[in-house]
Symmetry: C2
Subunit: 337 residues, 2 copies
């Protein structure tokens, strides 16, 4: 049996395009003793994958040319030769982007969906949810009455981060790229205010939304947006930095030039900390439990933008950089059986 | 009896100049019951004072126009109407820049000079020494074998910071502005290497000096120098930020533009933290003890650049911005009696 794979064809210089990707056919394979055959249900496309398309050193190894991209995948066991997983089980793993997988059970984790669609294991109960949780609760630590600003507020991470800050009693402002997203974060997520960065009066909007300055800036995007944040930071402000998507598609030799941050960091004694979820692996259980409980109680709303079909992965990935998605961007590859 | 004072005449726009300052005469005053009369021995000029010359909000209130500048002063009790201090005692305080002071003893601290000149209370055993200690030991936390880079390495703070990192077993590189300072930090302070930022090949020198990347960057200066640091930061690098002198003399409306830091902060999961000594006031005793012990054992070398005469304060202050000083810049106003 043949299946589709998505390979890295060319390392992009600047924004990835159709030459970056290549579809290929390969054998589906069959599980030996102790292995299972998985069918991909959902594939996660995430901004950090752009970094892996380059061969510069980073916190994850680069993708290999001519090899499948890998990333967050939710899959279902359709054949099992292992006692550890049975047919029908739903698992999550960091897996190659292909329709089927022959894997050892130890390479994936069984997912409890708690009545949610298994896609949640890649969004609110997966890496983006945990990223929001650790950045906001372990670094940002918003207190009652403080002002919290979240960039990329309608995205996979931002939608969770803002709600966590609201639950902590903060006044929460989201930065978004469209009116639709502004409505989404205010009406569905409970943000106090939305500020649209594509509008000419962005700086004025932001200042008006933060009359008491900013105590926590959840940094999701980088670039010019953040230049307007630094002068508003209050004493002992915290800045968790989980992404800088604005700089991911710089061309070779191009630099991300803007306001240097040091004068503001020293003046306001700011704590700025970059992190990835893996840095908090000791706290996975706590984070998962808090997020799952909040979802169950209806206190944590989340949305997903789902493209259908394996062939839509490149389009879904590229959409991340034009801000096409509300909530988590996913690709649905197959129905659960 | 009359005495000299140094007043803020005009708020500078950009680099301060002769119009910034004004000397004035005022009465020396005489101590009432419970007060002492102090004679200024040394005045400390420090880069952070530039911030107080502007009326922008910061961690210390702005100086008032037409009022004396204030800052670190070491003085001697020449007349005492208090049981708490006796004639001859040496004290340190945040005092107006004038030759004499009528003060309550509670407004100053008695200084133990441990056989050192009392100027040490404004340098290695004062604010600069404590700044170096807290930034390096409480934020930077260098480990054996790590690479530590200190900017402003030959200055009041840098000279102490680098030696503390050496004592922790790190490989220590200093960034300096002249050959003389390069020799100073290597020969007198024990830095492993010196890199001169005014040379054309600064970036190359820096890379060569840090073949294993940078684990701690003690940020003392900001500006273009630091732009070359960010790409070299290792995973979990720490960046204590105690100053950004490069940005202190920006003109109104001028911005400090350079490399944005976020992509490096997230890629290497950097911890960057701005601080002032007061943030660590719970640890003053520890810091003072460690520094005094190291000085006493001959393990902590320090130098001071001392201008003589009250009228030299403006010149000494301005020299900070052209990098005139090696070690702590002080002005000696009078001899100890």
């Amino acid at each position: 049996m043949k299946q589709q794979q998505l390979l890295l064809r060319e390392r992009p210089n600047g924004l990835p395009d159709e030459n970056t990707f290549e579809f290929a056919e390969t054998d589906q394979g069959s599980p030996e003793k102790g292995e299972v055959l998985l069918k991909t249900l959902y594939v996660s496309v995430d901004p950090y994958m752009r970094g892996r398309m380059s061969d510069a050193p980073s916190y994850v190894a680069p993708f290999e040319l001519g090899e499948p991209l890998t990333g967050g995948v939710v899959a279902q066991v359709i054949e099992s030769n292992s006692d550890d997983l049975k047919k029908g089980d739903i698992v999550r793993g960091n897996l190659p982007f292909q329709e089927y997988h022959v894997q050892k059970p130890s390479h994936v984790s069984k997912v409890q969906t708690n009545g949610l669609d298994p896609s949640a294991a890649l969004s609110v109960l997966g890496m983006p949810g945990l990223t929001a949780y650790f950045g906001m609760m372990h670094i940002g630590k918003p207190k009652e009455g403080e002002t919290v600003v979240v960039s990329g507020a309608a995205g996979a991470v931002g939608q969770v981060a803002g709600q966590l800050a609201k639950q902590a009693g903060a006044h929460v402002i989201g930065i978004v790229g469209s009116e639709e997203k502004a409505s989404y974060i205010k009406e569905k997520l409970g943000y106090d205010e939305a500020v649209e960065y594509k509008k000419d009066n962005f700086e004025e909007q932001l200042k008006n939304a933060c009359p008491n300055g900013i105590d926590v800036y959840y940094e999701n995007v980088g670039g010019e947006i953040s230049d307007h944040i630094w002068p508003l930071l209050n004493t002992f402000a915290r800045v968790p930095v989980c992404g800088a998507i604005a700089s991911y598609n710089l061309e070779e030799g191009e630099k991300d030039i803007g306001l240097r941050v040091q004068q503001f960091v020293v003046k306001a004694r700011v704590l700025m900390q970059g992190f990835i979820v893996g840095d908090f692996s000791d706290h996975y259980a706590e984070a998962y439990q808090e997020l799952a409980k909040a979802v169950e109680k209806g206190k944590l709303h989340f949305e997903e933008t789902i493209y259908e079909g394996f062939e839509k992965i490149p389009e879904a990935f590229l959409g991340l950089f034009s801000g096409a998605n509300i909530g988590k961007q996913l690709v649905k590859v197959a129905e659960k059986e």
